[in-house]
């Protein structure tokens, strides 16, 4: 089975994010970069499927040169090959990202494409569905459980309304939520092997973006709240406030 995993390199969840003077991007200097957590769990699922059913896992990333580091990490975790789609700056419009990924993935005849249900930077939750539309494949996203048996797939997808089990046939695009499980750590051997593996390049053209960033800004700073030890009277203030909210 040929599995592609689309990974996005994002700033670490702990990182402090500052808006660049242009007002339309962030300061990238000094940031620590990671594989977006949902994508990392998607990669873990791909590796487990490969280990059970044979096949190859290709990690795919769109972005400037820095994303090669994310691909190197994917190889260290156990991906068989890596494919870099170079571009100057990450698109702000998920439509453009998905179209670029589809250009590279369509001719390579994969059976299964896995990716995070959303990236933790843009949080658009669009790439899996848009990729599936472009390829004419079924798509199931926000997946928290996955079983592949030959060409048949069972996926667990929790909705606000119900826990759903979705059955479908490959080829398909699946959007994974981190809650499916933590990814493995790369082994020392994996890291050493990854250094020798080549990173392939696929040239893609980016469409013009129809979603335009007018301005990026920090949210309004919150004013310091009232904090006190239990017994200082703060609990009475809080109880009165909650009684008001509950309209007791």
């Amino acid at each position: 089975m040929k599995i592609a995993v689309c990974i996005k390199q994002t700033p670490d969840t702990e990182a402090r994010i500052l808006v660049a003077p242009s007002g339309c991007s962030i300061e990238e200097a000094g940031l620590t970069w990671i594989i977006s957590p949902h994508d990392e769990s998607a990669l873990e699922q791909a590796l487990q499927i490969r280990d059970r059913c044979q096949g190859r896992v290709t990690a795919v990333a769109l972005g400037p040169a820095r994303v090669k580091q994310a691909l190197r990490e994917a190889l260290a975790m156990g991906a068989d090959e890596a494919l870099h789609l170079p571009c100057d700056a990450m698109p702000a419009d998920a439509a453009v990202t998905a179209a670029a990924l589809a250009q590279a993935l369509a001719p390579r005849t994969f059976d299964l494409i896995l990716t995070g249900e959303q990236s933790i930077d843009q949080a658009g939750s669009q790439v899996p569905q848009r990729l599936a539309v472009a390829l004419g494949w079924p798509c199931v996203t926000a997946v928290e459980g996955l079983e592949v048996d030959g060409n048949s797939v069972n996926a667990e997808r929790p909705r606000e309304q119900a826990e759903e089990t979705v059955r479908f046939e490959l080829p398909a695009v699946v959007g994974i939520n981190r809650r499916i499980g933590e990814p493995r750590y790369p082994s020392f051997r994996g890291i050493m092997k990854a250094k020798r593996k080549p990173i392939g390049v696929a040239v893609v053209t980016l469409d013009e973006e129809a979603m335009v960033r007018v301005r990026m800004r920090a949210p309004k700073a919150k004013k310091q709240g009232v904090v006190g030890a239990y017994g200082s009277g703060i609990e009475d203030t809080v109880a009165a406030l909650l009684a008001g909210a509950a309209k007791v």
């Binding site: 700033p11 969840t13 702990e14 994010i17 957590p37 419009d93 998920a94 439509a95 843009q122 949080a123 658009g124 939750s125 669009q126 569905q129 599936a132 539309v133 079924p138 798509c139 199931v140 996203t141 929790p158 909705r159 606000e160 309304q161 119900a162 826990e163 759903e164 089990t165 979705v166 059955r167 479908f168 981190r178 809650r179 129809a210 979603m211 335009v212 960033r213 007018v214 301005r215 990026m216 800004r217 920090a218 949210p219 709240g225 009232v226 904090v227 030890a229 239990y230 017994g231 703060i234 609990e235 809080v238 109880a239 009165a240 406030l241 909650l242 009684a243 909210a245 509950a246 007791v248």
Partner: protein, 305 residues
Amino acid sequence: MAEILVIEEAVTFAAGDGTHPVTRELCHAADDIARRTGHEWASLEVALPEALLRDPAAFGEAIAEASRDSWLVMMGSTSLGRDVMARAAGLLQVPLAQDCTAYSVTDGSPTFTRPLYGGKVLVDVQLKSRPMLATFRPRALPAFDGVARVLKHVACRSPTSPVVQVDVCAARVGRTLGVTEADVVVSGGRGMVGPDNWHILEELVSVLGPRATLACSRPVSDEGWRPRAEHVGQTGQAIAPDVYIACGISGAIQHVAGITGSKCIIAINRDADAPIFKVADYGIVGDLFEVVPALTQAIRAFGDS
């Protein structure tokens, strides 16, 4: 079809069937934008064959069919809403402003505000497309108090060939409120020590009335102490209740990302240096096993007096 469409999501509550409360919030935005831009608006019920109701491909296709001539199409940023609107946007080949928390109107066209980087940054975007597609986070907008014109679109697709077969294995029938819908959210973290201690939070929820519900932090759902649907944070759900009560939650940046939309944050934690106190409007430093039952007692006393 109307120029501005609000896509309804059908839901089931303990009280019966209806539309998701976010629909009324979107109607407020639709009504306001319509007045300021001279467009007409309507709420749209998408009628799908039973077999396709839970298939986002069919729902997204129906939205795309219904909205080809529209100017602006909005839906709630729920699990289903995000999914089907992404599908519709792909089919229409237009951008989608997903998970918005605010909007403004200048020179007859809307600007949408979305949180990025887990809420550390906000971005204002404009959509150079027709239709413009946007989803809004539940509870980010006020609710509409007028009467909406409701249209119905019957999907063209035949019900014989669902692309994916969806089985409901555990419908949350008779459920009270989801974490994104509640006015008051009582949330437990690692400080709760174990799943057997949750009764003290349940008792607090019960005195806070029918608009209150339970939530938890990521370690709690990872440990299996509470269901995954209750997980609030950057990799769980983002919520915006009137009051959020964090009990034994240290306030990791990933958790805080999910709760910054709350109007009032109350934190209870033993550790005075816990980062949750930096974002709290009210903080009680103390043992939650002492503080929470005392609060429950005090609120009950308000009711009795």
